[in-house]
Symmetry: D2
C-alpha cells in the first residue's frame, strides 16, 4: 500500500496473507489501478478532512487512470469489470488511502454497474430510446467526460419512498425536491435522483430514477456538507426546482420501489462495495497499530509489541479483520452468482430478499467490526492517537458513517434479516 | 437435513441460500454421503447423550457408506477427497445430526488426510518401509477394517510436549504414557499417539507419532469419558504400558514438534474440520429456533415469529451464522491453496504460522459464535428449552467443548495470533 | 465461604474487599445464617444434581436454623428482615453453596416477604378474616411447620395471564389448572398458585392468589423436574383438579394482574433476590478459577496465575463481578427505598413500573454477566472443567436458568425497559 | 438539567428515578451548584469545541459560585465536601453540560481534595513549613485567587516514572521537563507537576510534587491542545526550564511513586470523578436519543418512539446507564469508606491496591459503556446525528478520551486487576 509505505516498509508483506484479491482478470486490473491511486488519496486525505474540502485530486486521478470506467463494458472501451466481488475489493483498496474518495468513487462506479445491468435488460426488452441515452452515457464515461451522482436520501423519509416529485409535463417531467447525502456532487455532471410520480390511476405513486445534467436550470448543488467524518466526500444537499427532464431520461419506473423487497439493482449493487469501504478503513487502522507497537517503547525500555496484552489486542483485531474479509469475500461471491443468474431480467422477489439479507449481514458485521478495529487501534497507539495530527482521528470519524448508510439502520437491519429468515414479508413499518 | 425433516418440512429450503457447499466433485460426494447419514446420527444422539454411550451406530453407518474412506485416494479405492474445504463442509453436515459423531468421524478422517500427505512426502523422499505400512493402512480403511484414533492430549502438558515416552529397544520402541481425550477410541483399532523419544545427543527430546494396534499388550482403552457434552464421542483415556512398537511404525520424527510454529500436518489438517463441527451445531440450533418461533403462540394469540423482538433475535443469529459460514468457507479455501502449494514437502515455518493464524481466527470465531447461537436459540424457544427433553440442552453442552480443543485455548489464541501478526516468534511461554 | 474453604484457605480474604454486606442488623443475622449453611448446601449439591434429587437436607437445615423465618416480623418470633437488599445478599450467599437451594429458599422467603406486605396492607384496610389466616401462617413458619411454594408459570401463557381457574362455588372456589416450575414443591406444604376468576360482570377475568394446602384433594405434585440445571430445586409440575379453596384463602384479587405494570408485590419482591442467586454462582465460579490458576502449572513449569493472559481473564471476571455486585447492591437500595415509601398502600403504577425497569436492568446484567463469568472460569480451569466431576459443569448448567425466569425474557426485557423509559404503556403485546 | 431544558421539558423528571444523588449535606450543596452551572457549560460548549478554545466562561462561573472551593474545609470558608462519592456526582453533573469543563474542574477539585488529605497528614506529623504553604493555598482558593493544575503525563513514560527533573540547588530545586495533557492550564495559576529527584544515595530516583506559580521564570504554557475531543479542556503542554522551586514547595517526596501500588492519594482521589465525567456524557447522550425518538416520525407517520426496535435500543442504553450509575455509586461509597479509615496516615499497600482495583473496574466499565451509549444514541437519532451541527458529534469525540486517561490503559487495566485479584505484585512491566 503506497500510502503507508512511507511509514513502514513491511506493509505490503504484512497485508498479503489473508487479504482479498480479485477473482477476475478485469477485476485484477481494477484493483491494481486502485492500489496505484492509494498514494494520491492518502496524500490529500488529511488536508481535505481538516478543511471539509472535496477530494478533487483523487477523483480526477481515478478518472485519468480509467478507474472510473472500470465497470463499463469493454465494447465501449471500458474496463469490463462485471464482478461485484472485484468492485468490493477495489473500493476497499481505495479506502486504505481515503474513505471519502472510496465512497465518492463508489457512488459513480456502482451507478455505472447499475446502468450496465439496466442497459442489458432494456436490450432484452428492445426499448430503443433509453438504450441510446445509456450507451452515449457509457461512452462519455470512457471519454472522461461524465461523473455520475445518484442522490437518493431525503430528510424525513426512507430510500423506498422519495418525496422528490416528477410532475408530468409536455415531453417529460418537471422534477422538484430536496436530496441529501449527495456524495461526489461537487465534481459530478450527471445526477440521477430517485423520484416519485403519480400513478396513472391516481392511487399513490410510482418511483423512478431521473437523469438531470448539471447545467439544468433549477438544479442547485449546495456546498453544505459539514459532517463528523467522510468530510471530503462532497455529500452535499441537492435542490431541484422544476428541473425539466425529457421523457427518455426517466428510467426504471416501478411500482412501490424498494418496499417489500422489490430491490432495484442499485441497492443490490451499490451497497456491498460501500460496506467494503470500511474493510479498507479497518485494514489501514490495524496497520497503523501494528506499526506503532513495533516502534514505541515504554519508560523502562520494553517495546510495545513485546507486551503480551498488546499482542492480544493485535490478535483481536486480526480476528476481526479476518471476519470482515471473510464476509466481504463471501458477499462478493454470492452477489456474482446472483447477478449471473439474473443477468437480463428482474430477479424473483424472494431471491432478491435472500441476497439482501446476506448483504445486510455483511454490512452490519463490517461496519461494526471496522469500528471496533479503529477504536482498538487507537488504544494500541496510545495518547498520541487522540491528537488531531494522528491519522486515526480521521478514521475514527470516517468509520462512524457506516451504520448511517441506507438501507438499513442497525435497528432496521435485524428486523429485516429476521423477517426474511422467518419467511415473512420483510417490509419495515415506518 | 434429514434429522430435522420430521420437525419442519421447510428446512431444506431454508438452509439452502447461504449454506456452504463443496467445491470439488469428490467433496460433493462426501457431503452427500454425510447428509444421507444425518438421520441415523440424529436418531441415536439423544439416547447416547443421556447414557454417555459411544455413537457406535452412526460411526458404523459412516463406515459402511464409505464416508470414512473419503480422503483415501481413488487409487486405493477411496473417495479421493483432497479439499480441506470440503472435509469441513462434510463434518459440519454430520454435526447437524450429532456433534459427537462429527468429532469422532473427524478424528479418523483428518488422520487419514494426514497420512495421505505423509505418504506423498515419503514417496518424494523414497522412504520404503513406512510407505508400505501406510499403503496397507489405507487399503484396510477402504476395506472397512481400520478405524483410526490419534490421541495427543495429556494431563499437565500441551500438544507440543508429549510426556508419553518411546524407549528405544531392539527392533523398535516400548511406549508408555497416559493420553486423554482419545475420541473415537471405543471403535478404533489403530492408535497413533504422539510420543517423545530421547534425542541421539541426549539433549532433550524428539517427538514422533507411533502406531499401536488395539491388540498390543499393554494398551488399555479406559471407559471413563463422562463429560458435560460430546458424551457420545468416546473420548476416553488411553493408557500405554510398555507397548512394543516396531521401528517402521514410528512416523514423523521431528525436532521440537509444534513449538515455534513447526506445525505437523495434523494440526493444520485436523483443526479446521473440528471447528466446522460447531457450524453444524449452530445451524441446527438456529433451525430449531426458527421452527419454534413459527409454531408457538403467546397467551393472546400472537405467533412468536410475528413479534419484532423475536425477529431481531433470529436476525442476530442469521448474522452470526453468516459469519461462521464465511469463516469456515474462507479457511477451507486458504487451506486448500496452502496444501496445493506444499503437497510434497514441509512448508516453510512462517507460512505454516500464517495459516495457523487464520485457522485460529476461524476457530475462535466459530466456537464463540456457535455458542451464542445455541444460547440465543434457547431464549427464542422459551422455558421448554431448559428441559432435558429438548434437543437444545444437548447442543448447549456439546457446543462448550469447542474452546477447550487444542490448539489453542482462547487465552492462548489471541497471544499466538498477535505474535504472528507482529512478526514475532509465536511460541507461547508455558 | 465454608463450601470452598476446603479448597483454598484464602477464600474469605479474597472475597471480602468488594463483596456485598447487609445494611440492617436483622439482615446481617440472616446473611450470617446463610453463610453458616453454605457448607451443607455445597456438600449435597453434586449428588443431588447428578440424581436430579431435591435439596431436602439444605432446606431442612435452613428451616432448623431459622433462616426460613427470616422475613417474618420479630413480633411473631421471626428474623425481622425487612430489607430487600439484605434478602438479596443472603440469597446470593446460599447460591455460593448451591443455586438450587437458593432459588428454592427464595421461593419461600420472598413469598413470606410478600405476605408481610399484604398483611400490613390488610391491617390498614382492617380486613379481618384474611388477617387471621396470614398471621397464623407466619406463626406456623416460625414453628417450622410451613414451607411455602408460589407456582405462577403455566405452559403457553405469561405470568400476567394465568389459565388456572377458580370457579366460584358455595363458600369458596374450585381451583383447576396446571402449573410448571413449581420450585420447592417437594417439601412445601402450602401452595399459592395464581388463578383467574370470572369478573362479576362476565367480561374477562380477575386474577388472584389461592392458598391450597398439600393435603387438599385434587392437588398433585408431580415428580417430573428433569432440567439442564437447577436440578435440586424441585421445580415440578403442579396439577390442581377441583381443589376446594375457602373464600378467605383467596388473596390479592385484582384486575388485570401484572399487565400494564400493575405489578403485584410478588414480582417486585421475589425477582431481585432470585436474580441475586446468579451473583452467588458467579462468585463461586470465579473463586474456582482463581484457585485453579494459583495451583496449576504448565509443561514447562510456569504457574497459570503467572501468565498474563490468565491474569487478564481473571481481571475481566473481576470487572464483571464488580458490575454484578454494583447492580445487586443498587437494586436492593432502590427497592428498600421504594418499599419504605409504599409500606401500607399499593404504589402508583408509574412508580412501580420505574422500579420494575431498574429490576429488569439488574436482572439482565446479572444473568448475562454471571453466565460469562462461569464460561470464562471454565476456560481458565482448562479441559478438566469439561468433565462432570468438576463443579463448574453444574454451575454452567445452573446459570443458564436465569434468562428463562419471568418476568421477563431477554427479548421482552429490552422492550419493557425501553417503553417505560420512553414514557409509554409498557404492556408487551403477546 | 438546565442545558437540555430548552430541548425537552420532561428532562428533569425523566432523569430522576435512578440518577445518582449526593450522600452528604455538603455534597448536596456542591451538586446543586453544579446543576446551576450546567446551562453556562452547555451554552459555550459547541463554540469552544469548534474553535478549540478553553472553557473560560464555565470555569469562571464555577469559581464565582464557590464550586471550585467545594472540597476546601469549612474552617477555611470552603464547601467542606469530604465525600469522594459526592465529588463524583458533582463532576458527572457538570459533564452533562460540557465534558471539557468537567475534566478541567476536576483537575483543580481533585487536587484540592488531595491537598486536604496531605494537610491532614502533615498536621499529624507536625510538619510546620509545608502546612503554612498549603493553608495559605486553601485560603487563596476560597478567595477565588487560585486555580490549580496537576500535570503528570509526559511523552514516553507512565505516571509512575516522571522524567521531569528537580535538580537540588541552594534553598530549593531547579525543575526542568515537559508535561503533556496539562488540563485547565489556560486559567490555572498554580502548577503541581510530578518530578523526580536523585536519591540521596545516588541509586535511582525519588518522586515528588512541586508547586510552581504561573509567573515563575522558565515556565511556559503552550497553546497546543488540538485533539479529537475534550477540545475546551485546555490540556496543553507545559514546559519547565530551570524553574526555581523553594524547598517548602516540594511535597510528597516518596520512593518509587505509584509503582507496585504505592498509590499517591492523587491517583485514588482524582481518577474516580474523572471517570464519572463519562457518566454525565452518557446521560446527556441518552437523553438526546429519547427526546429525538419522541419527536421524529417516519415517512408513513409512525413515531420513532413507537417502533419496537427503537424501544429496545433505548432499553439497552437504560441498562448500560444503570450499570454506569451503579458502578460510580459503588466506587464512591468504597472510596469514602477507605478514606475514612485512612484519614491521617498512608494506607497499607494491599488495601490501596484493592481499592485501585475497584476503581479500575469502574473506570473501564464507565468508559466503555458511555462510549456505547453515545454510539447507540447516534443510531437512534439517525443521519442528522452525523452532522457537525448535532451535539452528539461532540459527545462522540469527547467520550473517546476516557480510555486514554491514566492509570490505566485498557490493556493494562485487565492485567493490573487480575494481578491484584491473584494476590500478585501488580507492577506492570513496561
Amino acid at each position: 500500500v503506497t500510502s503507508i509505505a512511507s511509514q513502514t516498509d513491511t506493509t505490503a508483506a504484512r497485508l498479503t496473507p489473508g487479504e482479498l484479491v480479485a477473482v477476475t482478470e478485469a477485476g485484477r486490473r481494477l484493483v491494481a489501478c486502485a492500489e496505484a491511486s492509494v498514494a494520491i488519496c492518502a496524500e490529500t486525505a488529511t488536508a481535505n478532512d481538516q478543511d471539509g474540502r472535496f477530494a478533487f485530486e483523487s477523483i480526477r486521478a481515478l478518472q485519468e487512470s480509467g478507474f472510473l470506467a472500470g465497470p463499463v463494458p469493454e465494447a465501449f472501451g471500458g474496463g469490463g469489470v462485471e464482478s461485484v466481488h472485484d468492485l468490493m475489493v477495489a473500493v476497499s483498496r481505495l479506502a486504505r488511502g481515503d474513505a471519502s474518495t472510496a465512497i465518492a468513487a463508489n457512488m459513480h462506479l456502482a451507478g455505472i454497474a447499475v446502468i450496465v445491468v439496466l442497459l442489458r435488460r432494456l436490450r432484452a426488452e428492445d426499448d430503443g430510446s433509453s438504450i441510446a441515452v445509456l450507451e452515449h452515457l457509457l461512452e462519455e464515461v470512457v471519454a472522461g467526460r461524465a461523473v455520475l451522482c445518484f442522490p437518493t436520501s431525503e430528510p424525513g423519509t426512507d430510500l423506498a419512498s422519495p418525496f422528490t416529485e416528477a410532475e408530468p409535463v409536455d415531453g417529460g417531467y418537471l422534477v422538484s425536491g430536496h436530496k441529501i447525502f449527495g456524495t461526489i456532487s461537487p465534481i459530478a455532471n450527471l445526477f440521477f435522483p430517485t423520484v416519485r410520480l403519480p400513478r396513472p390511476d391516481g392511487e399513490g405513486y410510482l418511483t423512478a430514477t431521473a437523469l438531470i445534467t448539471r447545467d439544468t436550470p433549477g438544479l442547485t448543488i449546495a456546498d453544505d456538507w459539514d459532517a463528523l467524518g467522510m468530510r471530503a466526500s462532497g455529500s452535499n444537499s441537492i435542490v431541484m426546482e422544476d428541473c425539466f427532464v425529457p421523457e427518455r431520461h426517466l428510467f426504471a419506473v416501478r411500482d412501490n420501489y424498494g418496499r417489500s423487497g422489490r430491490w432495484a439493482p442499485g441497492a443490490l449493487l451499490a451497497n456491498p462495495p460501500l460496506a467494503a469501504t470500511y474493510l479498507g478503513v479497518a485494514e489501514v487502522a490495524h496497520e497503523l497499530a501494528v506499526e506503532s507497537a513495533g516502534r514505541r517503547k515504554g519508560p523502562h525500555g520494553k517495546r510495545m509489541a513485546d507486551r503480551i496484552p498488546i499482542q492480544e489486542l493485535v490478535g483481536t483485531s486480526e480476528i476481526d479483520l479476518a471476519v470482515c474479509r471473510a464476509m466481504v469475500g463471501r458477499m462478493g461471491m454470492l452477489a456474482d452468482d446472483f447477478m449471473a443468474r439474473h443477468a437480463t431480467s428482474e430477479p424473483p422477489q424472494d431471491e432478491a430478499n435472500a441476497l439482501m439479507k446476506e448483504s445486510q449481514c455483511m454490512k452490519y458485521v463490517v461496519n461494526h467490526k471496522a469500528g471496533e478495529i479503529v477504536d482498538r487501534s487507537m488504544t494500541i497507539c496510545g495518547g498520541s492517537a487522540y491528537m488531531n495530527t494522528h491519522p486515526l482521528t480521521r478514521l475514527y470519524r470516517d468509520v462512524r458513517a457506516g451504520p448511517f448508510m441506507q438501507p438499513f439502520s442497525p435497528y432496521e437491519a435485524f428486523e429485516f434479516i429476521g423477517k426474511v429468515a422467518l419467511g415473512l414479508d420483510p417490509t419495515i413499518e415506518r
